[in-house]
């Protein structure tokens, strides 16, 4: 009887050995996208497959994950698991996730399909193809899981439509479109390395731990199911980076520039996660500041020490991210409080106990810079004048976020940066965003900035109600303060009904 092949040989037979040298067409025609970025690959055979996963093993393990996941989701639905969350304010984190992140998973699926086709190396092709299927699975599991909440809470009903239109959702949308419209090497550096390796823990861990702490076992389950794929994605990201850096010295400055750009774009995107962690979880896991220290400063520090041997340094402006950690979540939440009338999830002020937690976690910033405005807003709300900003915000041309970031030497001063290109002025929230624009201005002058598009008349009309209508955002139901929401009314009613059931 023949001896079974060992893991390495089996993997090679089923993947690498299926590649061939084309003879009908020149390689440059089959793979037209791999030179224009300036990246030089001498030998694709030197690609190291970190996980030697063949397709049969892939389907087996992925099917196992799916079976377990859908069993949990079924059980969650049957047992009215939505009633076990800490309180209905938590559900707003899921609204942000479904409208902001799930469509991005779909974009990642498209992107990996593209690069899987664009790369000539078999090892890279296999890894990208698996990742493309993973990302599709992620969006599907997210939609299935969160659809249960759609039966009971507002704001979930039109996530795809909203992702393409609503002002704050242009932030994740433009992030992925920037990557998808780059070449294959930039795409994979941006997403596999910068997003899925350097920063992934700052997206998934907070949402999933937040879900666990707040009784949302359905989200925990899909989160950990997805995250088990992320381990493979992370190793792809690391392998890609090392491969490019080892193949040719000319690649080093190109890759460094991409690392700088995508660290900054990803970091800005994570402002949404910062506010979610510190403000949207009735039971908090850890502060944004703690998460940044653990997952970026320590973990990321180790990574970049590793990469130093290839000539790579820490991403530009990383020190700004460290300085901003005392302010980021508060400034972002205050922005959504300002624009709560135009957000498809509820906003609210923290209570006294929550403010004590914030003060303890942020001893150098909270009481001095943020508590005063919160106390003012609370007083206004009690007097019947809940504050909403009557004007539309100025947006950064690159990250498309309102210009809410302040100077770390003076947190009362907004950072203003500008440049001119072909006679037009462009504005930025930071040096990081300005640098990105100045390197590829042609790309960013065509940005679809939500506020400007509203003023150009492309968003349903000139008034806020018309724009909300165009968003499919139901005024008075999906938006505004949690205190007056249907979500809260329902929640109190359900909890009272179920506690009455318990006492009979």
């Amino acid at each position: 009887m023949a001896k079974p092949m060992n893991m390495r040989d089996k993997y090679n037979r089923m993947t690498r050995d299926l590649g061939w040298e084309p003879s009908y067409q020149p390689k440059s025609k089959i793979y037209p996208q791999i030179e224009f970025e300036g990246i030089k690959i001498e030998n694709w055979e030197q690609w190291e497959d970190p996980f030697r996963l063949t397709m049969d093993a892939y389907w087996k393990y992925q099917a196992e994950k799916e079976r377990k996941l859908y069993a949990v989701i079924d059980s969650f639905a049957q047992n009215n698991g939505q009633l076990n969350v800490t309180d209905a304010r938590y559900v707003n984190a899921l609204k942000l996730f479904l409208t902001g992140i799930s469509p991005a998973e779909y974009s990642a699926h498209r992107g990996f399909s593209m690069v899987g086709r664009a790369f000539p190396g078999v090892g890279a092709q296999v890894a990208c193809q698996m990742q493309a299927v993973d990302e599709l699975r992620h969006v599907q599991t997210q939609v299935h899981t969160i659809s249960h909440y759609n039966k009971y809470f507002n704001g979930f009903q039109d996530f795809r439509h909203m992702h393409d239109r609503v002002w704050y959702l242009s932030v994740p949308k433009s992030f992925f479109e920037d990557a998808q419209t780059a070449g294959p090497f930039e795409f994979i550096t941006a997403i596999s390395f910068s997003f899925e390796y350097v920063l992934t823990n700052l997206l998934f861990m907070p949402f999933m731990s937040g879900a666990a702490f707040n009784g949302d076992m359905a989200t925990v389950t899909f989160g950990f199911s997805a995250q088990s794929d992320e381990a493979r994605h992370m190793t792809l990201g690391l392998e890609v980076i090392k491969f490019m850096l080892q193949q040719h010295p000319d690649n080093v400055p190109i890759v460094q520039r991409w690392i700088d750009k995508w660290f900054w774009r990803g970091y800005r995107l994570l402002s949404l996660v910062a506010m979610m962690m510190d403000y949207m979880l009735p039971k908090r896991v850890m502060s944004w500041k703690e998460a940044w220290e653990m997952y970026f400063e320590q973990n990321g520090g180790a990574l970049f020490e590793d990469l130093a041997r290839y000539g790579i340094r820490m991403p530009k402006y990383w020190e700004v991210s460290v300085q901003e950690k005392d302010h980021l979540s508060h400034q972002t939440w205050a922005t959504f409080y300002n624009y709560g009338h135009a957000a498809a999830f509820h906003t609210w002020m923290p209570d006294a106990e929550e403010m004590a937690w914030l003060a303890a976690k942020y001893p150098d910033s909270f009481d001095r810079w943020y508590r005063p405005r919160y106390e003012h807003w609370i007083a206004q709300e009690k007097a019947g004048h809940r504050f909403y900003n009557p004007s539309l915000p100025m947006l950064c041309q690159t990250c498309q976020i309102p210009m809410l970031y302040t100077d770390m030497d003076d947190p009362t001063q907004v950072v203003y940066r500008s440049t001119e290109y072909q006679g037009e002025k462009y504005h930025f929230c930071s040096d990081g965003c300005k640098d990105i624009f100045e390197h590829e201005p042609e790309k960013y002058v065509q940005a679809w900035l939500p506020v400007h598009q509203i003023y150009q008349g492309h968003c349903g009309g000139a008034t806020v109600p018309e724009v909300l209508n165009w968003y499919h955002l139901r005024d008075g139901q999906d938006n505004r303060d949690y205190l007056y929401s249907e979500d809260r009314q329902n929640w109190l009613r359900w909890k009272e009904a179920s506690s009455q059931l318990e006492t009979t």
Binding site: P32, T412, Y416, P441, E442, Q456
Partner: protein, 119 residues
């Protein structure tokens, strides 16, 4: 430096002034009043007199702040596109040198936001 592309990359700025129906974009920020989370963006007629900007536009935008009614407009410090600026109240925005996508900042000495926190 330029974007890398496989073809002639078209340059199509989305926010040229012609696309705003006769208005121009103006950005305004009130320093140290971060109760308003960021500077604001407004489509304004280029001929709008600066006095009208102050009396109508700024009042609508910032009137809710307790500091607003306390502003001594004669002591306000203005900045236009990063430079100190003395507006002419009767002249229009354009004639004051405020162009499309210009940034106006104003500072109200002595008024530093809610409880002096810059909010």
């Amino acid at each position: 430096m330029s974007v890398k592309a496989l073809y002639d990359y078209p340059i199509v700025p989305k926010d040229t002034v012609e696309q705003f129906h006769g208005n121009q974009l103006v950005f305004i920020g009130w320093d140290q009043h971060l109760m308003f989370c960021s500077p604001i963006a407004l489509p304004l007629p280029p001929a709008l007199p600066f006095a009208a900007l102050v009396e109508q536009v700024l009042t609508d935008a910032y009137g809710q702040h307790p500091d607003f009614t306390r502003i001594d407009w004669s002591r306000v410090e203005w900045q236009l596109d990063g430079q100190p600026f003395t507006p002419n109240p009767v002249a229009g925005l354009r004639d004051n040198g405020i162009g499309h996508k210009s940034v106006i900042r104003f500072r109200t000495p002595g008024l530093n936001g809610i409880a002096g926190s810059g909010s």
